[in-house]
Amino acid sequence: MALSRGEVEHIAELAKLALTEEEKALYAEQLSAILDYFRKLQEVDTSGIAPTATVLPIRNVFRPDEPGEPMPRERLLQNAPAQADGCFQVQPILEFE
């Protein structure tokens, strides 16, 4: 199953990746090969089998509702590309207001 260039561009857009023309061609080929490989799974008859979210036998892992110590703000912000007023600063978002 061959992925079109358009599909590769869409996937790259969803993952916020900027690809060169060479990369698009390369990934179209590689992703197609991966999909072909997975197609083998579709040959298995799964009717009557409930969807499986996990193969681990663990269920219901919870914590009690008890507040704990948050992280010092200085540490939280130390990797921020930019900060102001104790906040992460990002490129302006044009939002409906």
Partner: protein, 488 residues
């Protein structure tokens, strides 16, 4: 036809997947309540908050839902700066609660609005747009958020309002959400579609977002219904789109720019094992259900003899209902007994008026149920009249002082000493011979004028009924005296 989607934060002590405290995100210092988990740092492990799950099931039970036996968190993937991990955890295909309903009051009687589903997701951070940049505060990121989705069962703005109010009241009764729209802890979105009478196919629906007050919700739905009817009438077609509510211009406008890449690539959250909800657990949670608003309203009508209207007013906020019932208990303990209906009238009348004026909620009212009952007793015993009672209530409301002290301090006590009152009446009659004359000549209306004069002389502290009797008595005595003098 209108359906609603409601996002209500669960006001647990800690966040959904980490122990960071849940705080008021409108007042807390930004980014003080964040940890590596809710900041979406790699290598962290989210662990669900048990109480948030229980509260969601509790809400589902109160909404007459079926509770799922199996539930699962998914990752909803998209890029936006308010979402630190670039995915939002949400029970996508496996909501905890399904197929319920909420009963509301409409002018045509009560009606059921069906609930399609109730599930948990995590709230996002907050974006602050300021001076050409965007700042991000993650205090709210990871706060448990309950999503409640209705079927499109509402047919008018009034029904939307009734539903929104009833749901907010219910969440408050359950103690899971304060219902404070200004603080953003509960948020509404509306789906609106219209269809001509007799048409069975559904019209194209639009979705309205950005509704941050009850007023905005009601106005936006009203506007959108009229906009769509206009389009259909003029032979046009309604576009399926997402609208925003422009508060300033009071119109809905298409929200552009966000429709790209609506491909969330949901997949099961591998870090959170599935949830299996045993029936024993559900029953334990059911046992936690308090008396719900409608049941309490019905009880107030039956047990206290209130009207539906009074019962509805008193039960809309459970703290008001608690206040009323505390007063009812106190009112029965001593003579003179104050009737529940009298209490209801004072609370929904005078007290609500004062609360509205001061924009104060019942928990901030400084007149205790004890004080209110004491005040009403003074009126019933005739120590003060009704008008003075209202004045004293206002004073108590403003100062927090106990009513009987206010009455003493201000000399408000009604003149009950009949002799003292008779003295004043006689003085007033003596000072106004002309008016006495016209009364004796048959002008009955003058009696009222005399009562007014006496009330003024006593600074309103006399019982008007009693004054009336005394004035009539004195004037008639004059008449009798005159006819015995007159030999004729």
């Amino acid at each position: 036809m209108i359906g609603l989607e409601i996002h209500a934060e669960l006001q647990t002590r800690s966040k959904m997947f980490c122990p960071c405290p849940v705080v008021d995100s409108t007042t807390a210092e930004p980014n003080r309540y964040v940890c590596p988990v809710c900041a979406g740092m790699p290598g962290t492990l989210p662990v669900p908050n048990r109480r948030a799950i229980e509260w969601t099931i509790l809400t589902g039970l109160a909404l007459n839902c079926e509770i799922a036996e199996y539930s699962l968190f998914y990752r909803k993937n998209y890029f936006y700066p308010d979402l630190p991990s670039e995915y939002q955890r949400s029970m996508y295909d496996y909501p905890l609660c399904l197929n319920g309903y909420l009963e509301i009051e409409t002018p045509e009687g009560s009606k059921r609005v069906r609930i399609r589903r109730v599930h948990i997701e995590e709230d996002t951070g907050k974006l602050i747009h300021i001076g050409g940049v965007t700042l991000v505060d993650f205090n709210r990121a990871g706060v448990p958020l309950m999503e409640i989705v209705t079927e499109p069962d509402m047919h008018s703005v009034e029904e939307v309002k009734a539903f929104a109010t009833a749901l907010r009241t219910l969440l408050r009764y359950l103690g899971v959400n304060s219902g404070d729209m200004e603080k953003g802890v509960i948020r509404f979105e509306a789906n609106v579609s219209v269809r001509p009478k007799g048409e069975t196919r559904l019209g194209t629906r639009t979705e309205i977002k950005n509704l941050n007050s009850f007023r905005a919700l009601v106005r936006a739905v009203d506007y959108e219904i009229r906009r769509q009817i206009e389009i259909v009438r003029s032979g046009g077609r309604v576009e399926q789109e997402t609208m925003g509510w422009d508060e300033a211009r009071e119109v809905t406008v298409p929200q552009r720019g966000k429709e790209h890449a609506h491909d969330y690539r949901y997949f099961p959250e591998p870090d959170i094992p599935p949830l299996v909800i045993s029936r024993e657990w559900v029953e334990e949670i059911r046992a936690m259900l308090p008396e719900l608003p409608r049941a309490r309203m019905a009880r107030f009508e039956q047990v206290y003899g209130l009207t539906r209207y009074e019962a509805a007013l008193l039960t809309e906020d459970h703290r008001v209902a608690d206040y009323f019932e505390r007063a009812v208990t106190l009112a029965r303990q001593e003579e003179p007994v104050v009737e529940p209906r009298t209490l209801a009238a004072w609370i929904t009348g005078e007290l609500f008026r004062l609360m509205n004026e001061a924009n104060r909620e019942i928990q901030d009212v400084r007149v205790s149920p004890e004080s209110l009952v004491g005040l009403i007793r003074m009126v019933q015993r005739g120590e003060i009249n009704m008008n003075t009672g209202k004045l004293v209530l206002r004073e108590a409301f403003e100062t927090g002082e106990v009513p009987h002290r206010i009455v003493e301090a201000k000399g408000f006590t009604q003149i009950r000493d009949v002799e003292a009152l008779r003295e004043i009446v006689l003085q007033v009659i003596k000072a106004n011979p002309k008016e006495v004359e016209s009364y004796l000549r048959g002008k009955e209306g003058v009696l009222k004028w005399f009562v007014g004069q006496v009330m003024r002389a006593t600074r309103g502290q006399a019982d008007p009924q009693r004054v009336n009797e005394l004035v009539r008595e004195a004037l008639e005595a004059r008449r009798a005296a005159r006819s015995s003098e007159d030999p004729r």
